[in-house]
């Protein structure tokens, strides 16, 4: 009896040690949750979902990757949840950059700190494009925006949104004076608003425009891509604004502050492989949303540069009309 008891006590006492040892060696031991701080359906939701299946294939121990939509307050609710999550790699989140960076840059008190997140991988990058309505005869080229004789009315989702901030940078870096027309629900809505004639021009990720360019409703004026995916559209570099090349929206996976290095690398490796997986590639082709992979080191370096650019134009982001 007493031997049994001793054995049991020894077993119980050493149990945590055993578990801890295993944890070091074999992350992950249980399912991983990806927080999606947006509603189901949009690009911020479908892109991470597309790599979840393949990702579990490339993770040790057959664990699953589960999506969790935490929409609200322009992503803030989800980012807060990531900030509070245990830094063990079992909870990560997709991040909209620069969306997540703008609130603190414009002086809003936010409870998460983007500089403390641990960056795991970049999934995609959508560079911006400035466009006017197809039927707008007054604005046919980028030069026409400058020659309008009055500030350009630009449609946006709202103050503090990514496109609003981009318009601020465009004003200060490219000399395009604009007044904002805010309050649209999505990029689709403000593009249609612009087509309808609510405003003169708008700025949005280039993919959002493809179908409208194809149908002739939208005229592309200048692209922030390195190489234009739309024929005949000048790039910012060709117009002499090389600094702004690549300005756009990134979809990035991040882990809570303090996530250990080995965990971050295991996750990064699995995600990099998942993006190359035939299943994910087939999806990307089908929906015309290519991946722009960056591993944990690349994305960390990339973001420190991007955050510096936004910090440089901090005062541009702040301006209201």
């Amino acid at each position: 009896m007493s031997t049994m008891r001793t054995l049991a006590i020894v077993a119980l006492a050493t149990l945590p040690l055993g578990l801890a040892g295993q944890g070091q060696a074999a992350f992950p031991e249980k399912d991983i949750t990806i927080i999606i701080p947006f509603s189901p359906g949009g690009g911020m939701d479908t892109t991470p979902r597309a790599i979840m299946g393949p990702m579990s294939k490339y993770l040790p121990n057959n664990v699953k990757v589960i999506p969790k939509n935490v929409p609200g307050a322009g992503g803030r609710r989800g980012y807060n949840e990531l900030m509070r999550a245990a830094p063990d790699g079992y909870t990560i989140s997709v991040i909209n950059f620069p969306g997540a960076a703008i609130p603190s840059l414009t002086g809003e008190k936010v409870t998460y700190d983007i500089n403390k997140f641990v960056w795991i991988a970049r999934l995609s990058n959508s560079a911006y494009l400035i466009a006017s309505a197809g039927k707008n005869d007054a604005i046919k080229s980028f030069e026409d925006l400058k020659k309008l004789g009055r500030p350009v009315k630009m449609t946006h989702t709202g103050y503090g949104s990514t496109s609003y901030s981009a318009a601020g940078i465009v004003r200060d870096a490219m000399g395009i004076e604009s007044t904002p027309l805010t309050g649209y629900k999505s990029s689709q809505e403000y593009i249609v608003g612009m087509i309808r004639g609510d405003g003169d021009a708008t700025i949005a990720p280039v993919e959002s425009f493809y179908k409208f360019v194809q149908s002739g409703d939208v005229k592309p004026l200048v692209t922030f891509e390195a190489k234009s995916t739309l024929p005949g559209v000048p790039t910012v570099r060709s117009l002499g604004y090389a600094e702004l090349e690549g300005l756009g929206v990134d979809r990035i996976l991040a882990a809570p502050p303090g996530t250990p290095d080995n965990v971050r690398r295991i996750l990064s490796d699995a995600i990099m492989k998942a993006m190359q997986d035939p299943e994910a590639q087939a999806w990307a082709q089908k929906v015309r949303r290519p991946f722009d992979p960056m591993d944990t080191d690349e994305v960390t370096a990339y973001l420190s540069k991007s955050i510096a650019l936004y910090t440089k134009y901090k005062s541009s982001l702040l301006k209201r009309e």
Binding site: R49, G74, T157, G158, Y159, V192, G193, K211, Q214, V287
Partner: protein
């Protein structure tokens, strides 16, 4: 076009296609019946399930859901005066009185047939206008949205008949509540008191569930008895087919409802609730006998039902043409489209015509299938009206609270439903129309956004609302609506003078437990207006502009309401001006009720809420149901245990087992 239609038939009428259509229809009916749940939740929940499906199968499933949810929602509205989904609230007005008269079968039959016909007509319109969809969407800019919202609100306030003044007040208060949270135009966060939950505003579905379901349950438990007051003998459901026939006899009502539904459905952000109420209101006003509405007029069931299902066809117009969702359901449905490689927009019809027509076919087939399935179980469902109130109340309270929680797994939603339950009960008790408040909650943001955007477009010139044709037309209609009661009064007076009748003063309102009680709500409203005004001035000018304007308007109307409630001479004239009649305001609902019963009824709901917050749904539900049945219903222990087990079991099986939700476990066990 014909080719793609035929291709769509091939896609839908496969064994798997039909299976998913039927599955979608059943799920849609169930989600419709349960208050708090609806098409939005159903589609959101099923998105992951469609990952492995072919696009055509996903379209069949989604079409099945969209076509059937609204009929499910009206069944609950008719039987227990609790709309299963928001738009079905209009069906309560006449559907519930019919159920009380023991004619639930007639009402359900009419609702089912009207949904089918309305849904089909909506789809026909969709097919016809798809080539024109782009032009239609481009017709509605910010000034038109603003005027449309204002017109909708006015029309609905007017449809409350003798309660026009109170309708306006409930609407203005609803607007103020709609302004809580993030303001998309100025980017400011307002009126949240620092509560993170309120950042995105007061969520509509929990508020609505509170206003209609919880408040109605409080009301029922104060009154007691069973729903069908005319006695058990009449409840045998034999007149379902009469209801179906009524839809065709009153074909004008059906047609009008369908047209309104399609039109309103096509306007993004407005949606089914407004559509069904506008349809109800316009049918009532077109009728020779408007007074018969609200008392069990079958046309009052047909009108909102036809509109409510027709709106899906309409809502698909902007969704497919531009990727702008016409409703919350459509917003999530957009995600399904994108997930399956179909980017909604001007190119969709050119690139994937087969898919679009599969969806349209599935939607039409589901409208009919849902009605057939629903009508088959009508007899069993109608027995609900014979269940003792003291069993029905705790069961419905619990299921709707769980439904509200399941929406976003957010326990804050349960608290919201509870708060609005209390507000709703106050409104029932003192005869303020709840519906204008709901419509204002729906339209508030749209109206404010439309106003600011119009101002930005025109550089601050108000004339923008009158220089655009469509906007000017909507403005004219709004003015007409607002002066209707006063004009009616004037006309009546002129006719009377022509007959030589002497001028008479308006009658006083009927007494309600002394006149002091009548002042409770107006004074509360006045306090709300003043508080919001003070609060609004903390924010920068653009953020506060529309809320402050609304609060000032509410302040004026609250003072008018207080004057009207005093029953003094000027007060009576004010009341007459807004009701359009000298007969005095309509009587308050029911007999005076002992305050003690009200307090008891409210305490039970509060007790359940606190228990849920502390120990979670699983522990709180059976205890609450059993105690309520024993203490309030004075029933046997055995009956109480059965009711408790049934409710808790239903929650566990439906939500945790079938839908894989984890129900709230409570602060103590969480």
């Amino acid at each position: 076009m014909l080719e793609s239609t035929l291709a769509a038939f091939d896609l839908l009428f496969t064994a798997r296609g039909l299976l998913f259509l039927a599955l979608g229809t059943v799920i849609g009916l169930i989600f419709g019946v349960i208050p708090g749940l609806g098409g939005t939740t159903a589609i959101a929940l099923l998105i992951p399930l469609t990952f492995g499906m072919k696009p055509a199968e996903a379209m069949s499933l989604m079409g099945g859901i969209m076509g059937s949810v609204s009929f499910g929602g009206s069944i609950t509205a008719i039987l227990i005066n609790t709309p299963g989904i928001a738009p079905a609230a209009a069906t309560c007005f006449d559907g519930y009185p019919l159920a009380q008269q023991g004619r639930a079968g007639l009402a359900i039959g009419a609702a089912g047939a009207a949904s089918s016909v309305g849904g089909l007509l909506g789809v026909v319109v969709l097919v016809v206008v798809i080539p024109l969809a782009k032009q239609i969407v481009l017709l509605f800019g910010p000034p038109e949205f603003f005027m449309l919202a204002i017109m909708g609100l006015s029309a609905i306030a007017l449809s409350t008949g003798g309660k026009f003044l109170r309708g306006i007040i409930a609407g203005l208060a609803g607007l103020l509540l709609a302004f809580v949270g993030y303001d998309s135009v100025s980017g400011g966060i307002r009126f949240t008191g620092g509560i993170e939950y309120l950042w995105d505003g007061i969520p509509l579905v929990p508020a609505l569930t509170g206003l209609f379901a919880i408040s109605e349950m409080i009301n029922l438990s104060v009154k007691g008895g069973v729903v069908a007051t005319s006695g058990q003998a009449n409840v045998a459901i034999t007149r379902v087919m009469d209801g179906v026939r009524a839809v065709f006899t009153h074909y004008r009502v059906t047609l009008r409802g369908s047209v309104i539904g399609t039109f309103i459905g096509a306007v993004p952000g407005v949606g089914g609730t407004v559509a069904s109420f506008l349809s109800y209101a316009s049918t009532m006003h077109a009728d020779k006998d408007p007074a018969s509405y609200g008392k069990g007029n079958i046309k009052g069931v047909i009108a909102p039902e036809a509109a409510n299902n027709a709106k899906d066809g309409g809502a698909l117009i902007p969704t497919l043409a531009f990727g702008i969702p016409g409703s919350a359901e459509m917003a999530i449905f957009l995600g399904v489209l994108v997930l399956h490689g179909m980017e909604p927009g001007p190119m969709l019809m050119i690139e994937h015509p087969g898919m679009v027509f599969t969806l349209i076919l599935a939607l039409s087939a589901s409208c009919v299938l849902a009605t057939a399935m629903g009508l088959m179980v009508t007899r069993q469902l109608a027995l609900i009206t014979l269940v003792d109130v003291y069993v029905l109340v705790p069961a419905v309270v619990s299921v709707s609270m769980v439904g509200v929680y399941a929406l976003n797994s957010n326990v804050g939603d349960v608290v919201t439903a509870f708060v609005f339950g209390a507000v709703g009960y106050l409104m029932i008790r003192f005869d303020y129309p709840r519906i204008t408040m709901v419509i204002a909650l729906v339209l508030g943001e749209l109206a404010e956004r439309g106003f600011h955007q119009s101002m930005m477009m025109s550089d601050g010139a108000l004339s923008v609302f009158l220089t655009r044709g469509l906007s000017a037309a909507l403005f004219a209609i709004t003015v007409l609506i607002l002066v209707t009661p006063a004009a009616r009064l004037l006309l009546e007076r002129l006719r009377a003078r022509a007959r030589g009748v002497k001028r008479r003063a308006p009658a006083a309102a009927p007494a309600l437990q002394g006149d002091g009680v009548r002042l409770v709500v107006p004074v509360l409203v006045l306090a709300l207006a003043i508080a919001m005004l003070v609060w609004a001035y903390e924010y920068e000018p653009r953020t506060r502009m529309v809320p402050a304007l609304t609060a000032w308007t509410l302040l004026i109307f609250a003072l008018l309401d207080i004057a009207a409630a005093t029953g003094t001479r000027p007060g009576r004239y004010i009341a007459a001006l807004f009701t359009g009649s000298l007969a005095g305001p309509e009587g308050d609902e029911g007999k005076p009720l002992p305050p003690r019963r009200v307090i008891t009824a409210c305490s039970w709901v509060t007790g359940y809420l606190v228990a849920v917050l502390l120990v979670g749904f699983h522990a709180a539900t059976p205890v609450y149901v059993a105690l309520f049945v024993i203490v309030q219903g004075r029933m046997s222990l055995r009956g109480a245990l059965i009711a408790a087990a049934a409710t808790a079991g239903f929650n566990a099986v439906t939500f945790e087992w079938l839908m894989q939700f984890e129900l709230y476990r409570g602060l103590l066990f969480g």
